[in-house]
Amino acid sequence: MNDPNKVWLLPPFGQGEPKAFEAKPEILVPAMVAGWTQCDPPASEEVKTDVHD
């Protein structure tokens, strides 16, 4: 389960690594205008199980 209060965005022109942003308009809007686009969370973020348990 992903955090509903967090979204992952890819940098402008798809150059670089995805970054997590707090899902608030005042944070998302400047990033979206600057070219960041939503993407799937990195695979490591989707796995929540602690493999050492």
Binding site: P4, V7, F13, G14, P25, M32, G35, T37
Partner: protein, 316 residues
């Protein structure tokens, strides 16, 4: 035989975006909503003929050729949380979805190709049906539509309406609801889609690979986009519209309509100044009619919309 009444018309359209302009939405990605206007999305077939060709011995046409197809339409609806989320996402073009059921939040902005965004809006399929099935009168789908503006439709989505009584309105530093002065407000966004540029060498045919079926558009790019904001407010001794017009004061304009905590629409023009402010009257009360000029803010762009509703997957 029973006549066909237009009230039987069913419409459905892509809740999610198509994977590309030519690939129709899957049924699971289409929702059925109701609408107000009677207009049908009639495809228009453009034809040419051989009248101008020499060698026939006369000036008359002997055959016609399907050259291209056009389709457009207008969708008029009562504003709801669901359709406002759809319109903002598909109309502005860029969307980030967050939240979870029953509170999905769609943050929407226009596309800026200079910053790496696409120059094409997200595409959706549009379905019209009258008595689908054995007694069909009309059953067709337009694929690859963009907002300027034979499947089984799902049950109609129950919408949560956003009435004007729920309005919150703040423009250029004034809360027009708190001071009870707002009379009307109107805002719009026009994409001015480059229709002629949609046809290009290789754009494709109505039936793929069949050159006799008429060309179709292979892209729908937005042109020079235009935003607008107009409002009328009562004018009294505390009114500041004329002062702000003369000073060309700038500020944000926020229009918010709320059904409940999970269903709402908030549109923010990031920077506006007043282009005109004219005194007049509404029902014998002195009012001021203002046209604002939306401007681009270097941080927040020109406009953004935050739409909340309980429907997942809009424009995804």
């Amino acid at each position: 035989m029973s006549t066909t009444r237009l009230q039987e018309l069913l419409i459905g359209f892509g809740k999610g975006k198509q994977t590309d302009i030519a690939t129709a939405n899957l049924v699971a990605n289409i929702w059925q909503l109701k609408k107000l206007n009677a207009q049908l999305a009639n495809p228009k077939l453009n034809t040419e003929n051989d009248a101008d060709e020499y060698g026939k011995g006369h000036e008359f046409a002997t055959q016609t050729f399907k050259t291209s197809w056009d389709v457009s339409g207008t969708l008029e609806k009562y504003l709801s949380a669901e359709v406002s989320a759809w319109a903002m996402a598909f109309g502005l073009g860029k969307v980030v979805k967050s939240g979870t059921t029953p509170n999905f939040t769609y943050t929407c902005t226009p596309l800026f190709p200079a910053n790496g965004d696409a120059s094409e809006l997200p595409y959706f399929s549009f379905v019209e049906q009258i008595r689908p099935g054995a007694g069909v009168v009309l059953d067709r789908m337009a694929v690859g539509c963009a907002v300027e503006g034979g499947i089984t439709l799902p049950a109609a989505t129950l919408e949560k309406l956003l009435p004007s009584a729920a309005l919150a309105l703040s423009i250029n530093g004034t809360d027009y609801v708190t001071n009870k002065n707002v009379v009307s407000v109107e805002t719009s966004w026009k994409n001015n889609i480059r229709l002629d540029a949609g046809f290009f060498p290789g754009s494709g045919f109505q039936t793929p690979g069949d050159a006799t079926t008429g060309a179709i558009r292979g892209r729908l790019e937005f042109g020079n986009r235009q935003g607008a904001l107009k409002f009328t407010a009562r004018f009294d001794n505390t009114s500041t519209e004329l002062t702000k017009l003369k000073a060309q004061t700038t500020g944000t304009a926020t229009i918010t309509l709320t059904f409940d905590a999970n269903n709402s629409l908030a549109i923010t023009w990031q920077k506006v100044s007043f282009a005109t402010a004219e005194l007049g009257e509404t029902d014998q009360i002195v009012t001021v009619a203002v046209e604002a000029t939306p401007m681009y803010d270097s941080t927040n762009g020109i406009v953004s919309a935050v739409a909340k509703c309980g429907v997942d997957g809009i424009c995804q």
